[in-house]
């Protein structure tokens, strides 16, 4: 109130004295300082309404002028921009004016947008945003206008429009949860996807993609609307849509993004940017702290970027999965691929990638896709040459497109083609490696396409002198040891694990014959009949009981399959100590088992010897192999017998598992328990195999690596989309060549980034590089007065005498200096 009254008085005093020259009154001030006026209006809109109205009227007149003459002189632009910023900041306080203000700008933009100065146009658009946020303008009308403006060739405006729409969607969907409006906007964008102007389509597409990634519109409808873009006539739109479904490139390459550990580590020291900035603001400023701040900022921004990237990765699988009619979509894509239309290779590659991905994820039957590889006239075959550009990617797409439901003969042809073109001695080792890797990935997806003859050929490369090639071949062997050992040569087969005996981990028994599970694997760890108690309360008790019962059986199974030495027991005990729960039962069991171990001890020794012999034989030539054939077969028979025995005993837990899983409905906790059990079992059996091999031949690091890689790959198949990555195809165990100088320099420079230069630091103060004498000249005289006086006092006796003499001569009226006394 006080403000208004004082203002009132002020007005009274001003009005009668019009423009007293030289005196700056408040009006004159505000005339010049719109920013100042804006501040005042914000504080007290009512009392400053008059000033506001003045500006407002002037703006309205300008708008009228713009209607007549949109092109303005360059000198008039800046004042107009100022007044727009002023009004847009203030107008929301006055309702009627706000409405008219918005409407006027809308009409001008609609009618004269092409002629307007780009800055003015941009300022109008920016001014419209707060009006929309305060509901003075309908959001949809503004959206329509924006889509009109997008047609103009104004890069900055387009960018601004896209970002403003995105942020608006964020407000609507996240903060206000106004789903109705969001739906309207979504439908509007869908309609714009069918526009005849390609730029409009592109913008609508970009908005939808962005909204999908940021979870504003994450639904099947949006994904399908975007998918239509893959068939648009403009390549740029096609590529954007295809890229959306493919996801980030680093994902396809299989590069690791920031893992969870990193993020957690970040969180420990991790503060938000705001916290860091605050801490810096209130601490003493030192060089080091400044540097630290910069570093912190950099890491934070990096993290943000990585987060953004990962968001793209997570959504693309979802988008592909939510396609309505994947088969038809795939067929259309394939038709486009087949067409002879001239287009860029990259575009074609993208399309190939998307098609492969869709085939792989949806298990489509697009058989021509593979068969194209075989006919010499087709282009895919043309692509499958070592010298082809981006051939590793093409191989990757071939591997991605292979899945269990493709007929084996089709795949066989494809594999044969790759083998002929890549895996021959006349090719470079890199080509062979890539080829074998690709074949491995294909076989990983459809193991029934493999033939014995081809596989044996490939496995012979394990003795190739190039390590990359030999490792790739060994990787194939490792794969088939797990998948279908019968196809391998006998000495490559290795030992069968318990699971393989049971055929537990195989998803398919034969082509098109999925392994149907009659029970939940691992269910044997649960008690056969659940105690009828209040479930949650007696959980622990129940667990204990179940453990006891379960573990008896399990160890029974293990006893037979395991041959544990003393060392092994120790290890196991340690493991079990960590888990606590299991401890007591196990110890008891182990004690009970020792007898069995002893019995089998002798056998074990025999086995080890045999194995050693075998390994030696392996290393010898093939000729000798024939000689020793019968002996080997004997041993094999022995082993088979043994495994049969094992299998017999192993059926006992199986029966129990069947009983458990048929008898009742398993709870979530029970599933958890089963999972734990399975993991443990896998660990134990792994250890066991490792131990066995330790006994026979020296197990090299390479063996471990191959096994690890295989495990990793299996895990990945279960987890995500289950498709191979480029990393798998381009997998070289040994570095291909030494880095060139450029590469080395690049890595060096990368390390230097953000590091301060060594040596003396450069100073840049105001006095740097000047002598004290020079500095003294600039000092205020009062500061140096005394010093100068002191200097004068330090004259020598002779100087004093001469000056006195001169002085006296002057007094006497004679010329000083030369006169001689």
């Amino acid at each position: 109130l006080r403000v208004t009254t004082s203002r009132h008085l002020f007005k009274m005093s001003v009005v009668p004295i019009p423009q007293a020259s030289g005196k700056i009154n408040k009006f004159a001030m505000t005339e010049r300082h719109l920013g100042f006026l804006q501040e005042m209006v914000r504080k007290n809109p009512e009392s400053y309404k008059e000033e506001f109205l003045e500006q407002y009227e002037h703006f309205m007149q300008t708008i009228k002028l713009l209607h007549l003459q949109p092109v303005q002189h360059r000198m008039d632009v800046q004042p107009l921009l100022d007044s727009i910023t002023f009004l847009s900041g203030v107008v929301v306080f006055f309702k009627e004016e706000a409405k008219a203000f918005g409407d006027q700008m809308l009409t001008v933009l609609r009618e004269q947008a092409t002629g307007l100065d780009p800055h003015v146009r941009m300022a109008f658009c920016k001014a419209l945003i707060p009006l929309r946020n305060k509901n003075f303008i309908e959001p949809l009308t503004l959206l329509e206008l924006f889509f009109e403006l997008i047609k103009l060739e104004d890069k900055h405006l387009r960018k601004f429009i896209l970002s403003s729409i995105s942020s608006h969607l964020k407000v609507i969907c996240v903060q206000k949860k106004n789903l109705k409006l969001a739906g309207k906007i979504q439908n509007f964008c869908f309609a714009k996807l069918k526009d005849s102007r390609s730029i409009v389509v592109r913008c609508a597409q970009l908005i939808l993609i962005d909204a999908f990634r940021k979870k504003y519109f994450r639904d099947t409808k949006t994904a399908n609307a975007i998918s239509e873009g893959c068939f648009h006539k403009v390549p740029k739109i096609q590529v954007a849509a295809i890229k959306f479904f493919i996801g980030s490139k680093s994902d396809e390459d299989g590069e690791e993004e920031l893992s969870d550990d990193d993020e957690n580590g970040g969180e420990e020291d991790g503060k938000t940017l705001k916290e860091v900035m605050n801490a810096f603001r209130y601490a003493k400023k030192t060089k080091k702290r400044e540097r630290d701040l910069e570093k912190a900022k950099k890491t934070l921004s990096k993290k943000k970027k990585a987060k953004k990237e990962s968001r793209g990765k997570e959504c693309n699988l979802l988008a592909v999965q939510s396609l309505y009619d994947a088969q038809e979509f795939g067929d259309r894509l394939f038709k486009m691929l087949e067409s002879t239309k001239v287009e860029k290779f990259e575009v074609r590659l993208f399309r190939l990638a998307l098609l492969a991905r869709i085939i792989g994820i949806h298990r489509l039957q697009t058989l021509q896709f593979y068969s194209l590889a075989v006919f010499p006239c087709s282009y895919v075959q043309r692509y499958l040459q070592p010298k082809q550009r981006d051939v590793t990617r093409i191989l990757l797409y071939a591997a991605q497109a292979c899945h269990e439901l493709v007929p084996p003969d089709t795949i066989e042809n494809l594999v044969r083609c790759i083998a002929y073109n890549f895996v021959t001695d006349r090719n470079s080792p890199e080509a062979i490696t890539v080829g074998i890797n690709a074949i491995r990935e294909i076989f990983n997806n459809c193991p029934f396409a493999a033939t014995e003859e081809l596989l044996r050929d490939l496995s012979q490369y394990k003795t190739y002198k190039n390590k990359n090639v030999s490792m790739a071949a060994r990787a194939i062997i490792t794969l088939f040891r797990q998948v279908n050992p019968k196809l391998l040569h006998k000495r490559d087969r290795g030992r069968l694990t318990a699971e393989q005996m049971e055929g537990e981990d195989r998803e398919y028994l034969d082509f098109g014959v999925p392994a149907v599970r009659e029970f939940v694997p691992g269910a044997e760890c649960l008690p056969e009949e659940r105690e009828e108690n209040g479930e949650m309360e007696v959980d622990e008790e129940e667990e204990e009981k179940s453990d006891e019962e379960g573990w008896v059986d399990v160890h029974h199974a293990e006893d037979v399959s395991d041959k544990e030495g003393e060392e092994g027991e120790d290890e196991e005990e340690e493991d079990e100590d960590e888990e606590g729960e299991w401890e007591t039962d196990d110890e008891e069991d182990v004690e009970g088992e020792e007898d069995d171990d002893d019995e089998e001890g002798e056998e074990e020794d025999d086995d080890e010897e045999e194995e050693e012999e075998e390994e030696e034989e392996d290393e010898e030539d093939n000729e000798e192999e024939e000689m020793k054939g019968p002996i080997q077969s004997m041993k094999l028979k022995k082993r088979l017998r043994k495994s049969e025995m094992k299998a017999k005993i192993a059926t006992v837990p199986k029966e129990k598992a069947v009983k458990v899983s048929e008898g009742r409905i398993l709870t979530q906790e029970e599933f958890k328990k089963i999972n734990q059990f399975q993991i443990k079992k896998a660990l134990v059996s792994q250890k066991k195999i490792a131990r066995e091999i330790v006994g026979t031949r020296k197990r090299t690091l390479d063996d471990d690596r191959l096994d690890e890689e295989y495990e990793e790959k299996r895990q990945r198949r279960i987890e995500g989309d289950g498709l191979p990555r480029l990393k798998d195809i381009e997998h070289f165990h040994k570095k291909m060549r030494r880095a060139t100088k450029e590469e080395r320099m690049e890595s060096i420079m990368e390390g230097r980034e953000g590091r301060e230069d060594y040596g003396k630091r450069k100073k840049n103060g105001p006095h740097v590089g000047k002598t004290n004498r020079e500095n003294a000249k600039k000092k205020v005289f009062n500061m140096v007065k005394n010093k100068i006086r002191g200097k004068n006092r330090q004259r020598s006796f002779r100087d004093q005498q001469t000056s006195l003499k001169n002085y006296l001569l002057k007094q006497a009226g004679r010329k000083p200096g030369n006169a001689k006394l």
């Binding site: 019009p18 003045e54 500006q55 009227e57 002037h58 007149q61 007549l68 000198m75």
Partner: protein, 364 residues
């Protein structure tokens, strides 16, 4: 040594010439038939010397287009010189004005709302605009809306000097093109708004009153024009008409360029002062406080103006044809005139008999 040389000479014929990759050897047995000659380059074509006779230049040798460009210059002095030059050209060749209105109007009218012009430049500019306003209304009419828009923009400018200058320009327009002004709704509304908010203006009161008077006049004139023949008596015996029938429609409809599409103001007649009671009331509401204030200042010289103004206002009300459309017209009119009547009761005004009388007529 000698033998070696001889040997080399001997073998020269059989020596194999070394070929460089990518170079083509000249054949030895062909004749080079290429002809070399020098080109004749024409730097310029033969120019027709036209235009120099007809083009008009200012004393400084600048054409009108150049001057128009310079009018938008950043430097104050350049602009000032350009104004002088333009004035000089246009006075020497008045026919140019009409031909170049398309370029002249935007560049000249833009200067109205320049903030950094001094009074001398303003007077120069004013005389220049007066010169432009010598153009007949017919040729002015397509450019008139733009001109008005520029000057109205100046009228709402936040700078005092600009507003004052814009007032004189609008006054000029009202005087010279009354018919065109009448059709412009923008003009009407902006002026009313201007009058109602002109408390802060510091132009001399006389100018303001003059301005308002001429503003009212244009609408008054319109009323006078309304003389379409409504009744005609035809006497068959004499074979004459009682009146001459004016077959031509009113002047404003004759304007060939006045399409509502081109101008923002669509057919001003509908909202002009003396036909719509609403606008009339607005006007009265805006004017009466101003007139009252001026009257209270008790300046003898202004008495004349005030009386004339009040007379015009009264005439407007009297001639209002559509009064019946608004039921509470009288009450609202009375309330609009209230400030004037109040002023009349104040003691200081008592001496000024003429003004009192005028106000009295108003209230009747």
């Amino acid at each position: 040594m000698g033998s070696k040389k001889k040997k080399a000479q001997k073998n020269a014929a059989f020596k194999k010439t070394k070929l460089k990759v990518g170079k083509i050897l000249k054949k030895t047995n062909t004749t080079d038939a290429t002809v070399e000659s020098r080109k004749v380059v024409l730097l310029t074509q033969l120019e027709e010397q036209t235009g120099s006779t007809t083009a008009v230049y200012s004393y400084r040798g600048l054409s009108l287009d150049n001057l128009c460009q310079q009018l938008g210059h950043y430097s104050k002095s350049v602009r000032k010189n350009a104004i002088v030059g333009a004035k000089q050209i246009l006075t020497s060749a008045p026919h140019l004005i009409e031909a170049h209105l398309r370029t002249i109007i935007p560049s000249f009218a833009r200067l109205i709302s320049m903030t950094d012009t001094d009074s001398a430049t303003h007077s120069q500019l004013k005389s220049l605009l007066e010169l432009v306003c010598t153009v007949p209304p017919m040729s002015m009419s397509p450019h008139f809306p733009l001109f008005v828009a520029h000057s109205l923009r100046g009228l709402t400018h936040s700078h005092e000097s600009v507003r004052t200058f814009a007032l004189t320009v609008v006054h000029l327009l009202l005087e010279t093109y009354p018919a065109l002004c009448r059709d412009s709704t923008d003009l009407f509304q902006t002026i009313i708004h201007f009058v109602s908010t002109s408390r802060k203006t510091n132009h001399s009161t006389k100018i303001l009153l003059d301005f308002i008077t001429s503003f009212l006049k244009i609408y008054d004139e319109e009323c006078a024009v309304v003389s379409h023949c409504i009744e005609v008596r035809l006497s068959t015996e004499e074979g004459t008409l009682s009146k001459r029938i004016d077959m031509c429609p009113p002047a404003k409809l004759m304007d060939p360029f006045d399409f509502p599409v081109l101008t923002t103001s669509n057919a001003g007649a509908s909202s002009s002062l003396f036909t719509s009671p609403e606008t009339l009331l607005n006007l009265t509401q805006a004017l009466s406080p101003l007139v009252a204030r001026v009257a209270l200042e008790n300046d003898r010289n202004l008495t004349e103006h005030i009386v004339r103004l009040i007379d015009l206002m009264k005439r407007g009300v009297e001639r209002q044809p559509n009064k019946f459309m608004m039921t509470d017209f009288d009450e609202r009119y009375a309330s609009a005139c209230d400030p004037l009547l109040k002023a009349a009761r104040i003691h200081s005004l008592k001496d000024n008999k003429k003004v009192l009388a005028a106000i009295a007529t108003l209230s009747q």
